[in-house]
Symmetry: C2
């Protein structure tokens, strides 16, 4: 027996238990002690790390101490109940357990054959989710469609675009490249990932039409129709529309029924991106979010945003998996196996950009089983109630105004005194470390975003945030006036 440098099982047990205790302790500290937004300056964290890696192994105690002393000051606490920035990337203990199990098993799910349970649990749980959100049955794996877990909505959108590109170019783009003048469509408020995907796929950003929006920041279906007609007249081939249910900027909801009818009529692939808002369809009262979805060719939402499942976990569905697989499948000799050749199994490497994949479904399965449908609904419903309470305070305020409809858990608002004041409020709030908000621009005006979705955000956090926002606004105005 030669020297081993591996951590022995007893040491792992001890350190893992220590780390679990550390995580629980961290969850307490990030609620009460630590500033939400890191105050680190560029290069500050790095400057404290040793220039060279160690020649000899170090103790776990030393590593955990450095996490505390060096890294923590450079962490922005996304799981803080006072985090109202961007979209949530919420998490939960059952999900952390799922990640731990996935790491402990260390299996590859690139092919069904490389770990059948990895593929079959994922297919099964994604079928569950179709029922949980009341999505169209065409997305079930038991028909010609099916679901897969992607790392993010960006990747889901890219995969949807690639499948559409193949379908509309007679499955030739993979062979000959993009030869036809393809054009894609999304609203001017769509996520930046649509533009990124169009660039990656070689379509060209000039061939993405950003359709104007109405006063609710939702895509105007009439303008989409006009633009498609104009493009056809000019010799372009419209092939892909991305509609958004809950834009990143303001949670605007594109009119999917009208867009879907148009796409169906025109033979254009419709992808619906419901990254954050989609989760709300767990609750029957929010199922208006699904209207028109029966005409979508693909759909995605992110349990890693607002369904208590750690990043990364995006659920991506297609109505016809054949187009997706044709756009991404390659079968070299060293991956050939009987199960694949039988056609009886799903090989998820053909549903995504990378080849390898870890046991992705475990954490989502743990989350769904731990909370149950009722538990998930209760927490999502509460987040919406909290955001609606905040919205009510804004509406009742003399100093602030709503900047857009706030149908769910995101409230866009601003101080009536203009951009300079709003910028100053945001900056001062975030520097306080007590809460974290981000901004957008709506109607050419600097606008504050308040998004409720972190796992442990409750009424007292939202009320304290509102109080702090009002105090800060008063202080900013006094200073600017003096």
């Amino acid at each position: 027996m030669e020297t081993t440098y591996h951590m022995d099982p007893e040491a792992f047990r001890r350190h893992a238990h220590e780390l679990v205790d550390w995580i629980i302790d961290y969850q307490e500290r990030r609620s009460h002690e630590l500033p939400v937004l890191s105050k680190a300056r560029p290069g500050e964290i790095r400057s404290r790390l040793p220039a060279a890696p160690p020649t000899h192994g170090e103790s776990f105690e030393a590593m955990l101490r450095d996490v505390d002393e060096i890294l923590l000051p450079g962490i922005t606490h996304w799981q803080s109940p006072n985090f109202f920035a961007f979209f949530p990337a919420n998490s939960s203990y059952p999900s952390v357990l799922g990640e731990l199990l996935s790491a402990g098993l260390g299996v590859q799910g690139m092919l069904w054959a490389t770990s059948p349970a990895c593929t079959e649990l994922e297919t099964h749980v994604l079928d569950w989710v179709v029922g949980m959100l009341d999505l169209p049955r065409r997305f079930l794996s038991t028909g010609p469609g099916g679901g897969v877990i992607q790392d993010s909505a960006s990747s889901a959108t890219l995969c949807a675009l690639l499948a559409a590109r193949e379908r509309d170019t007679g499955f030739a783009t993979n062979d000959r490249g993009v030869e036809q003048p393809l054009v894609a469509y999304a609203s001017s408020q769509a996520h930046s990932s649509v533009e990124k995907a169009v660039g990656i796929a070689g379509i060209g950003k000039d061939n993405l039409r950003l359709i104007e929006v109405d006063e609710t920041f939702a895509m105007r279906a009439d303008r989409l129709e006009e633009r498609i007609r104009e493009d056809r007249e000019r010799g372009f081939i419209p092939f892909f529309v991305c509609a958004t249910v809950g834009t990143t900027s303001s949670n605007a909801i594109d009119p999917v029924p009208g867009i879907g009818a148009l796409c169906q009529d025109q033979g254009i692939w419709l992808h619906v991106d419901a990254a954050m808002a989609g989760t709300a369809a767990l609750c029957p009262e929010f199922r208006f979010l699904n209207e028109g979805l029966e005409r979508a060719d693909s759909y995605c939402f992110n349990p890693h945003k607002w369904m208590f499942t750690n990043f990364d976990c995006d659920c991506f569905y297609v109505a016809d998996r054949a187009a997706l697989i044709r756009s991404l499948s390659i079968l070299p000799e060293y991956l050939k196996n009987r199960a694949t050749e039988s056609g009886a199994v799903i090989d998820y490497r053909d549903w995504q950009i990378p080849l390898g994949r870890r046991f992705r479904a475990l954490k989502l399965w743990f989350v769904i089983r731990h909370y149950g449908l009722n538990g998930l609904r209760a927490h999502v419903r509460r987040h919406v109630e909290l955001a609606q309470a905040f919205r009510g305070w804004v509406e009742a305020s003399e100093s602030f105004e709503l900047a857009s409809p706030a149908p769910l858990n995101l409230v866009c608002f601003r101080h009536r005194d203009g951009d300079e004041v709003n910028r100053a409020i945001l900056d001062r709030l975030n520097r306080s470390g007590e809460l974290y908000l981000t901004h957008t621009v709506l109607d050419d005006r600097f606008t504050l975003r308040f998004c409720v979705g972190q796992t442990h955000t409750e009424l007292d956090h939202v009320a304290a945030a509102w109080e702090r926002i009002r105090e800060t606004a008063d202080a900013v105005r006094n200073e600017l006036q003096s």
Copy 2:
């Protein structure tokens, strides 16, 4: 206080401790009790899962019991010391701790500003790795280059191709689409991800030239040069070459010095894919792997293959980060922030396909610190020694022969009695559950692959495997003769 369905901290502590114990127990069982290759039939695992998700939450005990009873029979044990298939996707306890910490922190690293430590630790550790592998200094972040963690070599290759596409089309592809007849090159033995990337990027697979290989299955630089000249004469624009250091099929090593000189002369982007083999450069005696790398524009290798770091963790380097960033950057209003605008920070969302990213560097940092450079070297060196011992047994055998050079940890070999016998040997070995091998085709002949790289593989596992292979060959020959 309203009803909460969250797992409380004490329950999490108890269940996490149980799960840690379960993982340690699993590591023992997968070494001794469990068949390496799952015996599940298509649909078998899924058929045992309940048709509908639970309405009410379930206990963690029920979940863990189902892992044991339903999932484990459908798991192929990639961490078994008797796993010699494909490439390793090895793992270690320090890495599992890193994954657990990343999940417990639950932060987003899409922008420097969203958690500075997340970005700075990654940049720093990737600079460490440049020194550890003695990679060219042009890949250090302190100059115009730098490194980033991708999910896989597939994604790294795609990003390299996109950066090359932008550079060689005057940074216009993102805007106008792929208008010029671009062509890419790789050897006929290159990984399937090159073909996949060419398809995704809209170049078209017909515009990928698969260059013939020599008797060691390495790319022929003379044929590459001829092909580039022919393509230029025909009006094509050669823009990208992917050289492989350690092909998936047989660990063949393309002649990077000659290919690099050619690419430099011709102004073609050279990407070097060293997915598994790259790790060996930890040891000075294997640094021949890096020859010519100073001329590469980009490089990747996977610590998640053979450096004891859980999947997913690919280290991707570019010599000029500007081209990469220009090909992937988009900055919508809701992501604008002072740090980004200052230009003083790295925003890794501009270095990858997805927008979001978790705290990726933690597990790699833990692995490097736990093992130290000496520990990593010792284990990699031992894996090579074990593979070389196996190679010696093959060479000394009358029944088997080597099918290709075996410079490192992968031995390609076959029984002298032809494809039918080799297929039967492979099938019977894998069905035994005692070990797991996969195959390839070399010189049009069915070839067995024996790859040593799992964390806990030692001499007794390799010796037992060889014994079992010989016994199985004898049994197969007896049956086929009778």
